[in-house]
């Protein structure tokens, strides 16, 4: 039991990071019906930016994160703007376009930061907390808190602000949204920007948990996507639950299958998609003639 709980605790912080990645995927998918395959690379960019400002310019961790989020947000804007001509036309081409951006970002990362990775020291130096015999790292708690805060802010933005409501409206019916005066392209751009910002947040937070390297985003991206699908694509609570579930699954497979953990995670993910493509909270879609 103790081991079981400890495994869960071990997976939660990474799960929170996956949840942030999943939120970014979901937000873009909700508004544009597009899966951004460059999302994982944006996570890596975020991780490098945050760690660079944190390590070399000695900016406080929080401030380094803010810089990372702003820069990646701008990257998100660029991606959306370039691919905008394909919106609502050819989704497979858009998908490949985002892969293209992923390739470009990957190259830029290696050019700027080199092919080797870096370890980022935890910004919180306190000893792990002991709770009923469970060891909980303080940084894990920080990650959880920030992820929760980001989620709350996102939900508030979507539900309380005019712009947030407009973004949801665009997702539901872009023609009706146009008719009430919403600029659909701008709304999509903002969705993309926020998605990229969330990716950077995830990247910045995961730096001290994992080794920051050009390969970081690949696995994070796919697991974040798995989380988004698991929860039901486009659903915010789904993304959170999906993220935590994948994090815990990760933690278990790492314990039981060691090196093969990725293999098992992806196989489980494939089976889940086959059984229920719409995820736990997803809606069924119908074919239209």
């Amino acid at each position: 039991m103790q081991v079981f709980l400890q495994t869960i605790v071990g997976g939660v912080s990474l799960g929170a990071v996956y949840a942030l990645v999943a939120l970014g995927f979901s937000l873009v998918y909700r508004t544009m019906g597009l899966v951004n395959f460059a999302h994982g690379n944006v996570v890596t960019v975020g991780a490098y930016l945050a760690s660079t400002f944190y390590l070399s310019t000695k900016l406080p961790f929080a401030l380094a994160m803010v810089v990372a989020i702003v820069v990646t947000g701008a990257i998100g804007l660029v991606i959306e703007r370039v691919l905008r001509p394909l919106e609502n036309k050819d989704f497979d081409l858009m998908l490949i376009g985002t892969i293209g951006f992923g390739i470009v970002l990957d190259a830029l990362i290696i050019m700027i930061w080199g092919a080797t990775g870096r370890a980022v020291p935890s910004p919180v130096q306190t000893a792990p907390i002991d709770l009923f015999g469970l060891r909980i790292r303080t940084y894990d708690l920080v990650v959880l808190a920030i992820a929760a805060l980001a989620t709350v802010l996102l939900v508030l933005f979507l539900s309380r602000t005019k712009r947030g409501a407009a973004m949801q409206a665009v997702a539901m019916d872009h023609e009706a949204a146009t008719a009430v005066g919403i600029h659909v392209g701008r709304s999509n751009a903002i969705a993309f920007m926020i998605g990229a910002g969330l990716a950077a947040l995830a990247g910045g937070l995961v730096g001290p948990l994992l080794y920051v390297s050009p390969a970081l985003g690949g696995a994070l991206g796919i697991k974040g996507f798995a989380a988004a699908i698991l929860g039901g694509f486009g659903s915010i609570p789904g993304a959170i639950l999906g993220g935590l579930a994948i994090g815990i699954l990760d933690s278990f497979t790492a314990g039981h299958f060691q090196g093969y953990s990725e293999l098992v995670t992806f196989l489980v993910f494939t089976v889940i998609i086959m059984v229920r493509p719409t995820g736990i909270f997803g809606e069924r879609t119908v074919n239209r003639a």
Partner: protein, 594 residues
């Protein structure tokens, strides 16, 4: 055609003498390029031709190479035996990786196949049998009596022959029935299914084809490098391969080869600056998808279109011919052909169909009319298998077909057209018809391997039938044009011709007169009557009441998802419930019309 053959022959000669001008490093580079070209053809088949987003091609490559390595070094089998077994193993993996395509498409399929590719690298990096991160070395080179294949110069010829055969086979598939059906499925899976294409089977076939090419490339790679390691099959190489196919033009196998060769050459030139190369091809991929989605292969056509446009050439001068009526067949039995029994269809809150029943006799032309949103198209979708009814049954030719897949209904003798036209956009008019004319099962694709001549003969017979259909519908001059370039009225006619080409007993027409002018509507009526007289049954949804009234013997009126009237045109037109549904209220109009 002749120039193409000449170019092909010239290229073959150049390829044959190429090694004489190359040093040992250059020939190695060429050998690697050929392997990538084979991989690209496979990826082009599954992605460009069949439209299945497959990010696992590099894993197929890896399975082929690793299986060869393991079988030769651990099991001590000979290279050729190992190679054959390796390809068999790759096909098995191809089936596994293709399975998700039965359930998900597009983005989802992309991410699943990418995940499975990562799972593969994860496995080889960890598995002892695969040598872990160090990989496997000491793979023997293939032995061939009298030929020393450990020489890269001679190995080149082995690769060249395999590549030529692989490319020729790919082109053979693309240009005959199987490839046509795959392209139809890529353009519009729904319409392809409604014409009888077994979509699930086709998707699996596409993945199997891709895996054969992947496996083949893997075996050749193992024999060439004689060493395999995980990093050769990583995601970066998958994306490189994808870039080759996209830049070359995914819908053309030649384009894929050109993309593979040119990108590999560029990468070779920038071998000291791999990240710059990566940056460059990544950017080109983005530019290509936005500005030239058909890639390099599509450039000549785009250039021609542009020049025509500059010269002010006005579309095509092709003329629509007159419709040649069918030979009347013995009048149909009048037995019940289709029975819809108590069908309801619920979409979340909305009841689109509510206890709808109707029977249609063989040889009838039945009209289905009703105001907007009354459930007409939903009824068609239930009948043709696109929707499963919430309640009720659909009996076709005495068999309960409720909830059967559209392709099964099509094979049972049902064909339909769609309200918004669903022609296969990237196929020519003739190919659209060919897809419908081809009634073979996808399973019979084994003929491609064992009886290619039989395939060719069948294809020629199909083309002859297509010529007949084109002629009958007056479409001969449009045969080689893309449907999208045609006037709307002609597209409508193509869609009807395509549906009838599938030789249905029951033809469902969904608003065939929408967007047609008066003369075209008159021709349509003539066509539909002739189709019926040839022994088929027609159900027609239409808003053009003049057409329905003059064409149909029986009319069913839907409103709010229910049948509100049924009978002869005059009966229906005088029915108070119909007048209310159409005009609002009966009372106000009675005085006026009497």
């Amino acid at each position: 055609m002749r120039t193409k053959l000449l170019v092909g022959a010239a290229l073959a000669v150049v390829a044959w003498f190429l090694p004489y001008g190359l040093d040992s490093y250059a020939i190695h580079v060429v050998n690697v390029i050929l392997i990538f070209a084979i991989l690209a053809v496979g990826l082009g088949l599954v992605m460009g031709i069949a439209g299945q987003v497959n990010l696992s091609q590099v894993a197929f490559f890896g399975v082929g190479a690793y299986a060869t390595a393991i079988l030769t070094t651990h099991a001590g089998l000979g290279f050729w035996v190992s190679g054959l077994l390796a390809i068999a193993a790759t096909v098995l993996i191809g089936i596994v990786i293709g399975t998700p395509a039965l359930r998900v498409q597009s983005h989802y399929l992309g991410i699943v196949t990418l995940g499975l590719a990562l799972a593969f690298t994860n496995w080889v990096t960890n598995a002892e049998v695969a040598g872990g991160a160090e990989g496997i070395s000491g793979i023997p080179s293939p032995e061939l009596p009298g030929v020393d294949l450990s020489s890269e110069y001679l190995y080149y010829y082995l690769e060249l022959i395999v590549f030529a055969v692989a490319l020729a086979f790919g082109l053979f598939v693309v240009r005959t029935a199987l490839g046509r059906r795959m392209r139809a499925m890529r353009d519009d899976a729904l319409a392809a299914g409604a014409l009888g294409a077994e979509v699930p089977m086709l998707r699996m076939t596409a993945f199997m084809l891709a895996s054969v090419y992947g496996g083949l490339a893997g075996v050749l790679y193992a024999g060439l490098i004689r060493y395999v390691a995980p990093e050769s099959f990583n995601i970066a190489n998958m994306f490189l391969l994808l870039a080759m196919v996209i830049i070359g033009g995914r819908q053309s196998l030649i384009g894929c080869v050109v993309g593979a060769i040119s990108l590999a050459l560029v990468r070779e030139m920038l071998v000291d600056h791999p990240t710059i190369a990566q940056l460059a091809y990544g950017s080109v991929v983005v530019l290509v998808v936005v500005f030239a989605p058909t890639g390099l292969a599509g450039l000549p056509r785009r250039a021609r279109a542009y020049l025509d446009h500059r010269r002010g050439a006005r579309g095509t001068a092709a003329q629509l011919g007159a419709f040649q009526p069918y030979e009347p067949a013995a009048s149909a039995s009048g037995d019940e052909l289709l029975a819809v029994q108590g069908v309801s269809k619920q979409f979340r809150g909305l009841k689109a169909l509510d206890d709808v029943s109707l029977t249609v006799a063989a040889g009838e032309i039945r009209g289905i009319v009703g105001p907007n949103g009354s459930g007409k198209t939903t009824l068609f979708n239930v009948i043709s298998g696109l929707y499963k009814p919430t309640r009720g049954r659909v009996v076709f030719r005495g068999t309960d077909m409720t909830g059967r897949a559209p392709y099964r209904l099509a094979r049972a003798g049902m064909a339909r057209t769609f309200q918004n036209l669903r022609l296969f956009g990237d196929l020519t008019v003739e190919e659209n018809l060919l897809v419908a004319l081809d009634r073979s099962r996808t399973l019979s694709a084994w003929r491609y391997l064992l009886r290619p001549l039989n395939v060719l003969r069948r294809d020629r017979a199909l083309r002859r039938s297509a010529t007949d259909v084109l002629h009958r519908y007056g479409l001969t001059q449009f045969a080689s044009l893309a449907p999208k370039s045609l006037p709307y009225g002609i597209q409508r006619r193509v869609e009807i011709a395509r549906a009838v080409a599938a030789d249905p007993a029951l033809l469902l027409l969904d608003e065939p007169a929408a967007g047609l002018n008066g003369e075209e509507v008159r021709q349509l009526a003539e066509i539909v009557r002739s189709i019926r007289d040839s022994g088929r049954t027609v159900i027609i949804i239409e808003h053009n009441m003049g057409l329905v009234m003059s064409l149909c013997e029986q009319i069913t009126v839907l409103a709010g998802g229910r049948v509100i009237a049924e009978g002869t045109p005059s009966h229906v037109a005088g029915h108070p419930a119909v007048i209310e549904a159409y005009l609002g209220d009966t009372g106000e109009f009675e005085g006026a019309t009497r």
